[in-house]
Amino acid sequence: MSLSISELEERANEVRQHIINMLAEAGSGHPGGSLSCADIVTTLYFNIMRHRPEEPKWPDRDRFVLSKGHAVPTVYACLAMSGYFPVSELKTIRKMGSRLQGHPDMNMTPGLEMSTGSLGMGLSVSVGMALAGKIDKLPYRVFVVLGDGEIQEGQNWEAAMSAAHYRLDNLCAFLDYNKLQIDGRVEDIMGIEPLIDKWKAFGWHTLEIDGHNIGQIIKAAEEAKETKGKPTMIIAHTIKGKGVSFMEGVVGFHGVAPSKEEAEKALAELA
């Protein structure tokens, strides 16, 4: 059952509504970076990845790691909409006793492959998952979403070296390049350009896409799958807060939840 691009766009819009509802309900969290990667994560869960919500530990399933763990509302929405747990549970996010922690906890949320939240570590974990797939000659692929500010952490570059060294062509990374981090514009805080050149120099196959264009996301993942002998980095240009006019490109919405009024306004825009 393959969804058309317009159906996927509808799903992504639904994911965005869940994000707003979750964060407004929680009163805290990270809307900007959750919205910026919504199209990528939605396309992964509903088109690209092979996974079985009814059999979460299926050995051949594709693995997903959200290295920028603060964007977990996006993943929770996709997991719930896939059937890993009831959609009604989304509103418990960040509350005492909830299975939906503020950052991803693999032992609490059905369907999560790894606990993350501390930036700079997800790519290394993905390398380990990809190595395991190579040892066992399993067909699964490993997908990881990194933040742009996150790659200021040096461990990413250790991981980048090792992924190329071990020729991990079963590893595909998306860099959610929304150009903003907590303290301001990435280029002002600690410049990361030239990005494409860096990943190329580290031995990766690199691609540059519009991270809100679902057709481009699908095509890039297909190209990654066909690329042999090296991992693929997809630099996805995105807009922080994408889909909600008053959040788009606004640094302040990195880690501040919308108020009830702001949420209503946002939901009206997304309806």
């Binding site: 693999m106 492959e113 570590m121 290394s124 998952m129 190595l131 395991a132 090792s162």
Partner: protein
Amino acid sequence: MPEMVATRDAYGKALLKLGEINPKVVVLDADVSSSTRTANFAAKFPERFFNMGIAEANMIGAAAGLATCGKIPFASSFAIFASARCFEQIRNCVCWPRLNVKIVPSHAGISVGEDGASHQAVEDISIMRMLPNMTVIVPADGLETEQAILTAAEYDGPMYIRLGRAKFPLVSPPDYKFSIGKSYTIREGSDATCIAAGLMVFEALSAAEKLQEQGINLRVINMSTIKPIDKEAILKAAEETGAIVTAEEHTIIGGLGSAVAEVLVEEKPVPMKRIGMPDRFGLSGPPRKLLEKFNMSDADIARAVLEVMGRKKL
């Protein structure tokens, strides 16, 4: 003189056995495989060995990823890098998700010797012990190391197994059986107890012989599992011998001495003294001379025993 074996050598041999019997075992190293002895495994099972280069943080993350896929990764480097440099990776990627990663560093303690302070990990027990879900093992000799490594592969959860570079005498009896969380009373005694770990167990036994000449019977306990600590044995020793000295090749802040003190203070306070690295960095020198320099030799343990015995309430 008993046989001299470095715990890292016993590790190298144990890994070869594990490689044969357990296909899930994989090994990672950070460019020191010839020193940690993981090179033996690398030569025999190249498809299950990954040299991650001089990048320990990434090694721990990759080990975590392998563990999520059902592998049993053993990750090795020198203790200073495998613990301190990777502390947060171990916290967030191994201990929090309780992944089945075995961190087995070599070159712990001041017995690293001539390489000096930068390479002498004397803080690792302390920082690993504080992590929830972590089990911390400090084998006393080669025999115990081999058993601890084989046991580790059967246990599901994070472990830190601290090994050394120097050759030290075997202290365990041939029929010794290691078990996680169980100490081993290696010598009975009634006047005081020395609770030791690692190569300090040998020093403690040597101190016990010296004291015997003075008519003092020192109990010696090999506390190879630092966490979870064998509370029962500590309380029994406090009850029966009334005075305790701890001995570790590690800073006296936060390690074995602190773990024992935590038990005693809350449940049965008795006179106690910690032998270990004072609050300072090490120096270059031969292991034996360094132990003497930092008051960690058998003679220092014997002196400490006399001191705590003198503080017993009559």
